[in-house]
């Protein structure tokens, strides 16, 4: 019975294997964490908590809770304001620069909207409880796009 000797070649092979294995493990951990976070992200709580009429239009405040292990970036909001199902904001998507909600954090995100013609007057004559905010946030978990929908829509000023 003879067991092969620990030659230089065998040590080099084992070293090469461990090197490739180690680097792959690090990237794998990153990828798995992102994969799980991206699947969990749609269950994030997004609630419209407030709105405010400004000189430029309407600022809607959304409270976003991120339950995942990764930060969620929110580059685009596809959100609109309605009074009795009638849209009062312009209806386009809003670009938000540098907005991100950290892992496990709850954060307010302000979405500036423009009014469509007559929208401001319609909003000002609305009663409390008539105003709704609906839509979704087009978000990113690392580079993966996920959509977070606005859960509770009725807002008071």
């Amino acid at each position: 019975m003879r067991v092969p000797e620990r030659t230089t070649k065998r040590v080099a092979l084992a070293g090469a294997f461990l090197l490739v294995f180690g680097v792959t493990t690090v990237t794998f951990a990153q990828a798995v964490s992102g994969h799980i976070a991206a699947m969990q992200a749609p269950s994030a709580d997004v609630t419209a908590v407030d709105y405010e009429v400004t000189d430029d239009g309407l600022d809607v405040t959304l409270q976003v809770h991120n339950p995942t292990t990764e930060a969620i970036a929110v580059p685009v909001a596809q959100v609109n304001a309605y009074v009795d199902d009638e849209m009062v904001s312009e209806g386009t998507s809003t670009r938000l620069d540098g907005v991100a909600v950290d892992s496990g954090a709850t954060q307010n995100v302000t979405v500036p909207l423009d009014f469509r013609d007559g929208g401001l007057e319609r909003l000002q004559t609305a009663d409390a409880g008539q105003v709704e905010v609906r839509g979704q946030l087009k978000s990113k978990v690392v580079e993966e796009t996920v959509y977070l929908s606005v859960d509770r829509t009725e807002v008071d000023e």
Binding site: V20, G34, I36
Partner: protein
């Protein structure tokens, strides 16, 4: 590698005790499979990597796992066994990691029923289109090269 026969089909290592051979085989097949499976997963989830890495570079772990299955085996017989076992262990790791969120995140059963078919479809096509060809080409290239280079 020290071979007792001219074909290299078997080696002196195989004369060691059964449990020792089986243990060595399981460790090697497990390590090679885990490497291949992790490589397969990473190659198909590049959107989650913080660093901007060339996609072709991410084929290396799968390819290397195939090569290691041959070069770490003491004989050609062991190489075939390791090659096949590593392939299937890797496939299990890849598919397991891909589907894991469904079971880790306590999705309701209705959501699992809805998501599972599409996720199985995604991982099956990835397994056929990039995992299998890359791992097997690494393995077969190592075997073919080994036939000429001692």
């Amino acid at each position: 590698m020290s071979n007792s026969t001219s074909s290299g089909w078997s080696s002196d290592v195989e004369r060691t005790s059964y449990s020792r051979r089986a243990g060595r085989f399981l460790v090697l097949a497990g390590s090679i499979g885990v490497l291949a499976g992790m490589g397969g997963f990473v190659y198909n989830s590049t959107q989650f990597l913080a660093a901007d890495v060339d996609g072709r570079l991410l084929l290396v772990p799968m390819f290397a796992a195939g090569v290691f299955a041959h070069v770490l085996a003491p004989s050609l017989r062991q190489s075939v066994r390791l090659g096949i076992a590593g392939f299937f262990v890797g496939l299990a790791v890849f598919v397991g990691a891909w589907l894991a969120p469904l079971f880790v995140l306590s999705f309701p059963n209705a959501a699992i029923d809805l998501l599972l078919p599409s996720m199985v479809g995604d991982v099956a096509s990835a397994a056929f289109l990039n995992y299998s060809p890359t791992y097997l080409s690494g393995y077969l290239l190592a075997v073919s090269t080994g036939a000429f280079v001692k």
